[in-house]
């Protein structure tokens, strides 16, 4: 009898669990359907295409195994784009995060009109990349651009910027940092507000200097924000396209051709979808790998309260 009631209650529990699961599934369906339809399925299909020689239009295509990936390893364009992507990522992530923190420290005080400054620094983030890219292309114009004019005033040589392989990438990095630094600042401002005042007071009682306060209190307590910004700006850097398309179109001589731009050219200029999706897959793998490395490394330096 007891046994019966026990098994009966287990049945009820299992039924309830099933009911709970179904209800849960019902609630997440509205999000799950577009996720599968517009993200998981295209990604899986794109992986499949990377093993073919499909040209985007022909109904027939051949299965070519790993040959698209094999070609990439010997393709000088791919290796150059990989190097450019790394340079661009390091060149944008570090200044954006460090600059964002510096701006936040500067603007983290209750002065009159401080809100206006915050708005000014944040505004580049909300302006459309394509439009401001054109403006920056004018600013960096070698002959009549404002940047070279300012360089001349301080007795520095005029640079060729987007028209030279040495400086084109620098121009794009400067633009990208300018656009992102205010955005990073907003996150840091919010993080700085959350640092408990008592910790600074305790530090004062112990006779700590400003630098010690910053190093031992501020930095550890805003480390989750730092970690978040590094991950997001790295992903952003790997996906940079708009500003490159507008300012340099990957030139001169391929010096600003990043992996995503190479993917675009393979897909929509040469219509070699197999090669393009292979590049895209490598891009996803790099992003995942960097994410994993950052998460593992974060255990050592990110402090969650």
């Amino acid at each position: 009898m007891a046994q019966n009631s026990d098994s009966g209650s287990r049945t009820t529990r299992i039924q309830f669990k099933h009911f709970e699961n179904r209800t849960a599934l019902l609630f997440i369906l509205p999000v799950l359907i577009p996720l599968v339809l517009f993200w998981l399925w295209p990604m899986t299909y794109s992986l499949y295409i990377s093993f073919t020689d499909w040209d985007y239009m022909s109904p027939e295509y051949r299965f070519v195994g790993l040959s698209n990936y094999g070609h990439l390893l010997h393709n000088t364009d791919f290796l150059a784009a990989l190097k450019n992507t790394m340079i661009f990522s390091i060149g944008t992530v570090v200044p954006t995060v460090v600059g964002g923190l510096m701006l936040a420290l500067l603007l983290n005080r209750n002065l009159r009109g401080i809100g206006l400054f915050r708005t000014i620094f944040f505004s580049p983030w909300v302006t459309p990349t394509v439009a401001v890219s054109i403006v920056w292309a004018w600013l960096f114009e070698p002959k009549v651009g404002l940047v070279n004019y300012l360089l001349q005033i301080i007795h520095l040589p005029k640079l060729q910027w987007a028209q030279s392989a040495e400086w084109a990438m620098v121009e794009i990095i400067i633009f990208t940092v300018w656009k992102g630094v205010g955005w990073a600042m907003v996150f840091y401002l919010s993080a700085l507000h959350k640092v408990p005042k008592e910790l600074y007071e305790a530090c004062d009682i112990d006779g700590g200097t400003d630098w010690q306060k910053f190093k031992n209190v501020t930095l550890p307590l805003i480390s989750p924000t730092t970690f978040f910004l590094i991950v997001i700006t790295t992903i952003d850097a790997i996906q940079a396209y708009d500003q490159i398309q507008i300012i340099t179109q990957g030139g001169p001589a391929g010096s600003t051709r990043t992996l995503l731009y190479l993917y675009y050219q393979a897909a929509f200029e040469r219509f070699n979808m197999g090669e393009a999706t292979a590049v895209a897959t490598v891009l996803v793998l790099i992003t995942v790998l960097l994410g994993v490395i950052q998460f593992v490394a974060s255990k050592r330096w990110v402090y969650y309260r």
């Binding site: 239009m57 022909s58 000088t76 060729q160 030139g251 001169p252 001589a253 391929g254 040469r270």
Partner: protein
């Protein structure tokens, strides 16, 4: 083009053409690929040679042979042969030429006269370089007047190499030949003129055609004595100030720059009745009178010999002789290069051109790098 479409629509009541303009041939091609992939293509498309060839190879263009065979008035001998041969692939015709284009020399008459240089005597690139030295004016380190300006990019440089006897591929199509002496010498001459003699310069980068118009502006505003540009520039140029001449050859070698027709094709997925309507529009645009009028208004080359005999065209040519320059050049030109790798050989040449014209890297280095890259791309498809 819109004007021609309106005239066609007004000329008959069976077919209505709706033109959809794109930003460039590249954009047209991208939009068309997406349309074909989605099974909703336009009835008729305008393509450059490489694009048309690539689509024909993929069997997504309709063969036009049956339409041509059923048209009693069609006279293939009337088309300029370099242009007409473009649409014939594996024995089938996939395109007809709409208008032709080639790069010709444009000179600023006053500046050449001031330096006592007769444009008619500039028959070789050696002549042009010598004249450029004579014309160039410098204020200390700054150049106030350049002798000549090539147009940024690989096209002009490729023309120069072909005119020196260079070839992009070997006869059997298995080997890339872009680092031979003909290529290295002709490209190195440009680098030297830009960076060492400072008798030439290029405008590069910017938005869309910005560099192109900056080059034209230099010649129009007396900052440069000449440039190498498209026959289609004639619609924008002031010929009271500018003179057009065919491209020069080199000492011991006749000029052989590329002349290419922009062609018109019909996507294979287009319905039969729309295909027939498209043919009517193509027939209209390529008839002698319409083609002559198009050439007068744009400077592009007529694709029919009979168009040059149309009275309106002859009247125009008598007062605007520059219109005959690209036509004369087209008759002895190199045919447009078909890149068998789908663009990688051209990409290698484009990068080499940047290295020479922007980075001042010796032509032998830039072209050997391009050769290795282009050969690898060609080997990969063989």
């Amino acid at each position: 083009m819109q004007q021609k479409i309106n005239e066609f629509n007004a000329s008959q009541n069976e077919v209505v053409v709706k033109g959809v303009a794109q930003g460039s041939y590249g954009e047209t091609y991208q939009t068309l690929q997406a349309a074909i992939a989605a099974n909703k293509a336009p009835a008729v498309v305008l393509l450059n040679n490489n694009q048309m060839y690539a689509l024909a190879q993929k069997k997504v263009l309709a063969p036009l042979d049956s339409y041509i065979a059923s048209d009693n008035t069609f006279n293939s001998n009337d088309f300029i042969s370099a242009f007409y041969s473009q649409g014939l692939i594996n024995g089938k015709r996939y395109a007809l030429p709409m208008y032709g284009t080639t790069q010709v020399m444009y000179y600023n008459k006053d500046l050449l006269q001031g330096a006592q240089v007769d444009p008619k005597t500039l028959k070789t690139w050696e002549d042009v370089y010598a004249a450029a030295k004579k014309i160039t004016k410098k204020d200390g380190k700054d150049v106030s007047l350049y002798g000549f300006e090539p147009m940024w990019g690989a096209d002009n440089l490729i023309d120069m190499a072909l005119s020196k006897g260079g070839k992009i591929l070997s006869g059997d199509g298995k080997k890339v030949n872009i680092d031979t002496p003909e290529w290295v010498d002709s490209w190195e001459a440009v680098r030297k003129a830009i960076f060492e003699d400072k008798t030439m310069r290029i405008h590069s980068g910017g938005q869309g055609w910005e560099y192109w118009y900056a080059t034209i502006a230099d010649v129009m505003k007396d900052h440069a004595a000449g440039y190498l540009g498209s026959s289609g520039d004639q619609g924008d140029l002031d010929f009271t100030k500018i003179d057009a001449e065919p491209q020069p050859g080199w000492q011991g070698h006749e000029a052989e720059p590329v002349a290419e027709a922009i062609t018109v094709s019909i996507p294979a997925i287009t319905d039969k009745d729309k295909q027939e309507a498209a043919i009517k529009w193509i027939q209209y645009f390529t008839n002698a009178e319409v083609n002559a009028d198009w050439s007068i208004k744009t400077g592009y080359i007529t694709v029919r010999e009979s168009a040059t005999k149309v009275q309106a065209f002859q009247d125009f040519a008598s007062t605007h002789p520059q219109i005959l320059v690209p036509i004369a050049q087209a008759r002895s030109a190199s045919t447009a290069f078909i890149d068998p790798t789908g663009g990688k050989i051209m990409d290698a040449l484009k990068k080499a051109a940047d290295k020479i014209e922007i980075q001042n890297i010796p032509a032998v280095v830039a072209l050997q790098e391009a050769q290795a890259e282009a050969q690898a791309a060609l080997d990969a498809i063989q």
